[in-house]
Structures are given as C-alpha cells and as structure tokens.
Subunit: 341 residues, 4 copies
C-alpha cells in the first residue's frame, strides 16, 4: 500500500503515519519527491489492510498495491490454468464447454426434450432454474422442489451434468441432490452467507458477475468460496449496467481476456441475459468464443414464444445444432476444443 | 403496455399481436401512424405482464406504461404520506429523524458511550452493525450474537430504538430480539428471500438502495416486504456507482424528490457510505436535508481513528451535537421538524 | 409519441393535451385503460417533436415512438446496406476493411515505414494523427501541417487511402488536401459545427462514438453529416465509460449487431483505444470481427516503446501480418471478405 | 508516479525501468516488498508524464501520484479561493451568485421581460442562448447574431452582466461584443480548440462539466483556459450520465465539496438541465446551495409552456422571487451571501 501525503504535510504528520504503519507489523518506506512524500507500507497483506489511513491528518490518498484476493489470483498457480472436470466434462485451459437449457424448468416434457436436444447438438452441461430471483414479487418464482425433481429426470435421461441456481442457504441440501454445479445469480454475487455455504458444500460453483460489480469484486466473491477449501469455481460475465438504453445490459467482453490474466479460474459468458433478445445471441456468442472464453451458458427452449420466463431471449431447440457448430468454430479460432464426453 | 410494431410489419403480424394480447385477458387498442402502428394492451397489470412480446415477429419494441409496483406507489394513498412511529419516534411527513451510531459494534464502552452521545445531541435512533457484509472474506465480519447483546445494552441504557442489519435469514429470530428496525444492506437489496422473511416478521425495514439499482428496483424491493403485510418500510439512498473515481460512490440526491413523488414511503439518506470521508459528511447531510429527506443515517464513533471498520468516514462523538444542529436547520428549510420524544 | 397521463388526470387536462397535439398539425388518438389514459400523437416527426408536453398539467411522462434520425435509419434503404468505395477499397456489406497506422505522425521514417508494413500485411487504409485532442494542454498536440505533409508522402508511396482527424473547422481545407476519410474523435462527436462542415465538404467521415454517447446520439451525429448531402459515413465503436476501473474504457461489442439493425451505415471497431494495452488488442479484434464488424481501426508502430503517444497500445509492425491474418479468419466466420485492391 | 512491477518481474526488468526513469531526467526510488517491487519516479511532472511505462516488460501497472493540473489546483493559491468580480458582481469565496434567464433567446419581449424579472428578484447575472448545441440537426439551433443583439438590449436595459454560449471559434468576436462570461457547454468541454481561444480572449469562462467527464477532466479543461493567462474560470456541475432512467441526468452534488478541495476556482450548479423538470428545480437548488455551491445557473421563462426550447424545465418569472429567496436562505446556511450590486 502506498500512502500519498498532502503537499503541505508536516514532518510530524509523516512521522505519525510511519508509526501507524509500523504498529501493525508492516515496514514503512519513504519516497520524498519535489512536491509530495509517498510512504510505502510493506508487509503482510492482512496487516496492511488494517491500516485505514484515509482521512488521517496529512494524508492525501491511499493507493493499494497488492490485489485483495489470493486464492483466485493467477499468481497462486504461477500461470497454470484451472481445468475443472465435472461429470467427465472438462472446462478451462483448452477445453470449451457449452452449457445450455431453459431459463426456467416448466414441465417434464419441456425439460427432458430440451436436455435431449442440447446434448445431441453438442452441449456439455444442462442448465435450468428451479428457484428464480425475480425483480417483481408478482412474477413466477420457479417450481422449487418440483423443478429440482424434473432436473434430476433430465439428468438421468441424458447423462448431462446439471447447473442450477441456489438462492436461499436453507435450500442447499435439496439442491445438492441434483446439482453438479451450483449457480450464484448476479443479484446474489455479494450474498456472502450463500457463497460461504456453497464453499463449504464442496460442490462446483458458477458465480455470475453482479451487473455492476467490478472484476475485483467478482474475484473477491470467488475468494469466499475458495477460502472454504472448494477449488471448483467458474466465473461468468453476463452483462453490466451502463448508460446505454438500447439493450438490457452491456456485455463486457473485455472481462474475458482481462480475467484470464488476473485469475487461473475458467471464465464463461452468458449472452442471453445481456441481450434479452434472441437475434443478438449468435453474434455475441461468436464474439465471446473468439475473445477466448472457456465456455458459454445459453438459454434454449422448445417453443420460446410459450416460455414462462425470458422467452424472447431463448434460442429454439431446432436452431441449436447450427448455433453450436458456429460457436465451436469461433472457439477453435481462439485455440479451444469443444468439451464432450 | 404499448407494443410498437416495426415500420414494415404486416397485417398478419399486427393481427397476431392483437390475438396474443386478447389471449391473456387484456384489451388491444390500435393506433396507426403514418410510419408505425402502436398497439395498446389495456387491462390488469398482471395479465399484461405475462405478454412477453419482445422479439415477437413484427414487434419493434415494447413500452411499459404502468409502474410495476402497487403497494409502494404514491397512488395507493392518493398522495398521503406514510409516517412511521417506531418506539415513539416519528419519521416521514414533516418528521425528520437522525439515526446515528457506529458502523460496527466493537466493545461495550464504545457502544454505550456512542449511544449516549448521540441521544444527548438529538438523534432519534441508534444504529450499529453486529453482522457486517464485507467485500473480503479476510475482513472483520462483525461480532454477531455478542454484538446484538451490546446493542440491547445500549438500548436499555438510552431508550433509543435500535437499527441493525440482517444478512442471513437464519439469524432473523435473534436479530428480532433487539432490533426496532431491520436494515437490509445495499448488497442484499435484491436478496428476495431475505426481504420476504423480514416482510413476514412485521418488523420495520430500512432498505438501502443497491449501488446500481434504479429507483424502480428499490421500490420493487420494498414491494417484497409490503406484500407480506408489513407496512413499515424506510427507503435509503446511500450512493450509486458511476464512472467518477474521485469519490467512493456518487450520492444521488435527485432520488429524494423523485422518490417522494413515486412513493408514500419515507426516504432517508446515508451520507457516510457514499463519501467514505468524514470531511464530506456535513455538506452532504445539509444538502440531503435541504432536498427534503425524511432523515439521515450517519456513522459516529468516539475515536474514529481507532475504529475497526470505516473509521475514516465516521464523525467523532464530540462533533456530533454541532453537526445535528446544522442538519436540523437545513431540514427546517425544507419544512421539517426534528423527531424527538 | 405517446403521452401517458397521470392516474388522477382530469378530463380537462386530457382535452388540453389533445388540443395541444392538434395545434401542431398532428392527430391525437386516445386509449383509456383502467388506470391511465394514453394519448398517441400521430403525424409528422417534426411536428410532433415540437410538442414539449413533459411537465404539462396532468401529464405523467412522454414516450417517443419514432426514432429521431431518418437518413441514418436502416428503414431509409429498406434493409439494403451502404457499401462505401474509397480509393478502390470497399467497406460495408460483405467487405471487411483493416485501417492501420500510428496514433500520431512523428517522423518521415516512422510514417512511411509503418504505411508500407501495414499495406504489405493486408491493411486497406492508412491512419495517422496530425492534430491530436489531448486531455492535458501540456501534452504533445500533434505535428499539425507538417504531419499532414508526411501523411501525403506515405500515401504517395503506398497508394493507401488516408484516414486522419480534424479538430478545428478552420483546418478543414488543409486536411482535405490529404485525407480520404476525415475522422471525428470521440470528444468531438457532439461538435455539431465540425460535423456540419465535414458534411458540406463531401469527404467521407469516420465518426467515433463519444465515450458516453448512446447509439441514438451517435446516429444523430451521423445525421448532421448526412443532412448536408454527404452519404459517406462510417460509425466507430471505441469503448465506453463504465464503473469498471480494470480497463481504460469498456469496449461495447453489442453496439455492432445492434447498430447494424438500426442503420445502413458501416460499423467499425477501434480496439486500441478501448484497451489502452497491446495484449488485449488481438482478442478484442477477433471478437469484433466475429460479432460482424465491417472493419477495424488499429494502432501500429515500428517501435511502440518509443512512440510519442499511446505506445503501450500499439501493435508492432513486425507482428502485424500475423494479427491481420487472424482477424481475417474471424471476419470470414461472420461472412465477410477482407477488402483489398 | 509509482511503477508497480509484476510479482515475477526479473532484476533485468527492474533495472530497465530504472534506466528508463532516469533517462527522462527523473529519479528512481525502489521499494521492495515481500510480493512486489514498486519503483517511484520522482521529478518534474512533465518529465515523468513522458514515461509511458504501461505495458513495459515486467510492469504490472502504473499509479500517478501528482495531479495533472497545476494552475487550477488549490495548492497554487495555498488554500486561498478565487473570487471573481464581473461587472461588479462577485462570485466565489463567500459570495453566492444567481445566474438566471431563458434557455434560448426567442424575442425582444421575452428576453427583456425575463431580464427585468430576474434582476428585480435578486439575480446577479442574466443568461440566454443565441447559439444552441442540439442533438438533432432538425431542432431549432438558436437565433445566432440576432440573439446576440437581443442579449445586448437586455443588458443595456437591466445592467446585468450577460452569460452566453460559444460553440464555434469563428463566432468568438461577435460573442465577445456582448458576453461578460462565455459559457462552454457540456458537449464542448473537451473541445480544446474552443477552450484555448476563449483562454486567449481573456473573457471570463463558465465551463460546464461534460455529462460523463470526471472532475479531473473538468479541471484539465479549465487548465486549457488558465494556461493562456486567463484566470477567470467558473466550473459548473450540470448532471452526469448514470444507469438511472428516472431522470435525464443525475445531479452530482458531491462534486461541489470535492471540487472546492481540489481547486481554488468557484463552483456553481445548474439544476435545470440535470432535472429536465421544473418540479425538481427547487429542491435541487436548495441542496446545491446547502452543499456550499458558489452559485446557481437556472432557466426562467415568462411563459414556460410556450418556450421554444426546454420549457418543461424553466421556472416561471412569476415564481422566481420566491425561489430566489429560498435559495438565498440555503446559501446562508452554508456561510454565503447573495452577490448583488
């Protein structure tokens, strides 16, 4: 951490900061410039974090130097990338995975038919929501337990590992009975209670970036899971909130190459929620794969126009094989192979 | 809801939309302009909400007309404002309330001393955190149960009603033993599980606006509480995330007059978290009160430099009486009275 | 335009709005719902634009229906795309163009060497700045007239058409002597004086999206040029300003497919300025091409570490051929061909 | 400037950075922490600015330490504030100024009547636009020269100094004939050509913050004027662009106290353009004055419903005296006096 003193800071103020730095067990290192003095606080990350010197007399501002995450950092593995193997499907490194399925589990037919279609077209995982975080309390909130049962049927039928969302820590046990990957939604990305519980469960976690969360905050959310000893974390970019009103969210594809520098964890992209419109899903998926994403999570429905939830953004199962083929070619351009069993 | 058709939409496409509108029990109303046709879908809000016509053939875009919230809407009370009476302190209407206390409950002395100081200086409520949502899993997470016990002591000692945060629905019962108002933090504003539970508890809720949530989303969060029959909801602006890096968050004071048009619920402001710096707390508090806020929630600490958490933004107890007096005068300018027992 | 009345609007207020609509020569069309009345104002765009009914008694809000741009609209050409032919290089439709060169023209050697390298590697246009808009008045502001002369030499030497920026309308004549395309920088996107002058000059314009401009504002900037009878306009996405601090700007690749729906004009992407870092330029370029961009404008320098301006984001001329080849393959994936003579 | 090296940076890379720092005439100062090495580059601001070490081998990132502005900096005057005296009206320090008038000059009657009203109610300056930057080329662009003539009449009639906008450097001479203060609009805040010309003219400049410009960029815009020897600069916050769609712009009142720490220049607020709605103008004006603004620039019109431009946000002249009185009291709360002759 670097403490930048004000131009007019006195020697007493500089000395007081140095004493404060040393009091937490860190070393202070002075650089006196022509206009300002900068004090480096060197030492253990946790000691330094306790300093809290903003607002201290004579201090202009404080610049953090070390990243606040450790276990998620690419330094931890000296540049080696995490490749997860979940139910025989690999994701990360050079393995690219397609995760596909409906926004919401609605009926046995819709669920199983979609799972079969996406498996046949080359998807590696099946996704479907039983618990749905909805902005309005008047909207459909998901089938809950019954939805989990339908996901289990789809899994038995197709062999595809299942990705599904958890919202309430009290539902963890029943979700664990069917989920191969537990999804944490964007709205819960900073629900630290939920993250810690999933960490302790040991089940792989797919963490969606909050729609206004920085990459650093996303990595800190991953850190909550990793800290419990659970090393299986997937990060997912799904669109951020900006000033632009021409689309629902702005898909941030710079997050893909930048996250891959910051962390060893696999990085996937959700083009469906960002766009909110089917016609944007293919170009955004190609762009995500070409940018080097480790996978894509996409919504598919047998009759999108009849979907209870988010139909306008779902691809039709009939179009999915052609879509998967194009995405595959874009991923190859970035040096990836489609992960299949 | 208005459905705007594309310029080249065919008669068949228009007819199909009309049939879809009528199929959910709404009435369709056509306006044909020179360039485009607009179809109004009139009827019950919940029927119309189920339409999902974005992406339908021939549809350009869909414009919602009715607000998605009902119980939070100012129309519900025909312009009359909600005035809450909590432990004898009024907030809302012409009653202005100061809610003050430390970010985190640390020790018995710190807690009780702060409570006494703020009560003597004219605060109406005491605030203090026992459970703290922290970006880093390595940061202090609050004293938990022990913190709740200290809050109970401060309340017994001063008679001030207590505002404290709930993060995990499994802690609801123990929080209810001491809290007069349960705070929902910005990061949990869309934790719908938590909101519904607080709604069912009947305890007054103070909901902080998520740092990237629209006013509409804040009102929908309130709707989750109100829908359970709990009419005691306070809304709190605490700074939003923007492109500006000169401050931690950008305090959005336009939210104050605009929320007061949209809803009958009281609207308060948290200047401490937006600023993150003590020297901005007073000008922002005066501005908030002059803009018509119904109250201010502010952090105070006996020795801010020693605070475990967020010390740089806390006012010193010694300065609090002068601060409260200035804020009071700004609130009077906006036609308010300070709420005292 | 739709005028949504307040829930409690009186018949008199509705009548007054109807009279106002009719007074500007538009037709009023009433839809009465259970809760609110909506008045459609149908008629000529310019009549309706003059209404200004926000804030009128009884009016809740006003919803525009027609896009405010006409000449830039994809409707104008009934879906046919504009393909520009500039100095024998095509851009738009299925023609993909690489525009490459240094941020700033520095010396004869640097300019001509870079132009030769990028031509040999398959670039279609040469870019280089003689006038540089710099945030700081203390930074290098470009070589001006001398820079234009060097660009003319590079053009004579390589045959590549030249793209260069204009900042001051008083420099138009000298810029026209060398420029095949005049660039309008992001900071000048709403400099309407400049846009109109370039429109009148008839020279093709490359308009960079302002870093906080909506797509609609970008299209309105294009409209200023088109309105003067100049049909040769290229739009350029170059990164927008968001809350994320991990990169300089956030490249908005959703703008590519969405602009291509809204307008017939070619859409290109500048990955260099968004990233500000060389290592992000390739993944972002591949993503842009895969998303369907009509071209890429990229910075290249013989010795990036010695560049006067923006060296850290420039590709080295030595690496450019491999880069161009990869981008070409991504553009093919989206159905494009590289534009060459 | 601090150069933070990557965790794995080699001794050769560190040495190369040190050599680079020394090559521009700055001193290098090493701090070796347990995880990373930080190199301070100490010396003249302009030397250091030329370093461009981002992307250099082994460099993780670069942290600027000194502010990039000098003449605008509060350090320049050691904390003393600039108080401008323009036509006998003071602004800055403890002098608070109301600048009022119509968005656009329309007719002689409207102009002179408004000027008289606002003068009688206590305004210190008269504002009015002759050149209007409009998003649409189809909108009214102002009366131009004729508008300037009407402003001159209003000034002759009332004695109020005039504030009016300049868009094109070629109009500078005619604007100087009537303007006491030249306004630079938000869209032109980074039109460096315009800023330099105004600087050279010596006429006081009122610079509006770009709707997505940081405070640092606003101060750099001021620096362009100050650098030409023109010390009369007013800064104006007028709302920034955020994700919130409930209002046109989000008025950023934190800018007021923060700018007053960063710069010695007066800081004023424009509540009219941020809100776009008359009913928000009063609460926002009171908030701005209570936050410590040095003045307010507000739109006033004799018949707002008939205004050619921005009528919905204009106060009526009839209501202006009551408004001015309230604002005055809020400014007093912040220790100011209304500036009158």
């Amino acid at each position: 951490m670097m403490i930048v003193m004000k131009a007019g800071a006195t020697q007493e103020q500089v000395d007081a900061v140095v004493r404060r730095v040393e009091s937490v067990g860190a070393r202070a290192h002075l650089s006196r410039g022509e206009e300002v003095t900068v004090i480096g606080a060197l030492g253990d990350r946790e000691h330094v974090a306790r300093l809290g010197l903003e607002g201290h007399p004579g201090v202009d501002h404080v610049v953090p130097i070390l990243k606040p995450y450790k276990l998620a950092s690419s330094q931890l593995r000296h540049g080696e990338r995490t490749v997860l193997d979940i139910g025989g499907r690999r994701i990360g490194g050079d393995a690219f995975a397609l995760i596909a399925g409906p926004c919401t589990v609605e009926t046995r037919d819709q669920t199983v038919a979609t799972a079969r279609s996406v498996r046949d077209a080359g998807a590696s995982f099946f996704r479907g929501g039983a618990y749905k975080p909805r902005t309005s309390p008047y909207s459909f909130q998901g089938l809950g337990q019954e939805g989990l049962r339908l996901l289990a049927e789809a899994k038995a039928e197709t062999g595809l590992p299942v990705v599904t969302e958890l919202m309430d820590p009290r539902d963890l046990e029943s979700v664990l009975e069917v989920a191969d990957v537990i999804q944490v939604g964007a709205r819960n990305m900073q629900n630290y209670t939920l993250l810690s519980e999933i960490g302790r469960s040991g089940c792989p976690a797919l963490i969606k970036r909050g729609f206004s969360s920085t990459l650093e905050e996303l990595l800190m959310a991953a850190e909550y899971v990793l800290k419990e000893g659970n090393e299986s974390v997937l990060l997912c970019e799904r669109g951020i909130r900006t000033f632009e009103t021409a689309y629902r969210y702005t898909l941030d594809l710079m997050a893909v190459p930048v996250l891959k520098q910051l962390t060893h964890l696999p990085v996937i992209v959700d083009p469906s929620h960002a766009a909110g419109r089917r016609d944007l899903v293919t170009p955004l998926s190609l762009a995500a794969a070409a940018a080097g994403a480790d996978g894509i999570i996409v919504e598919v429905h047998p009759q999108p126009d009849e979907a209870i939830c988010d139909g306008p953004q779902a691809l039709a199962t009939d179009d999915f094989a052609a879509y998967a083929d194009q995405v595959h070619r874009a991923a190859e351009l970035a040096g990836k192979e489609l992960s299949r069993v």
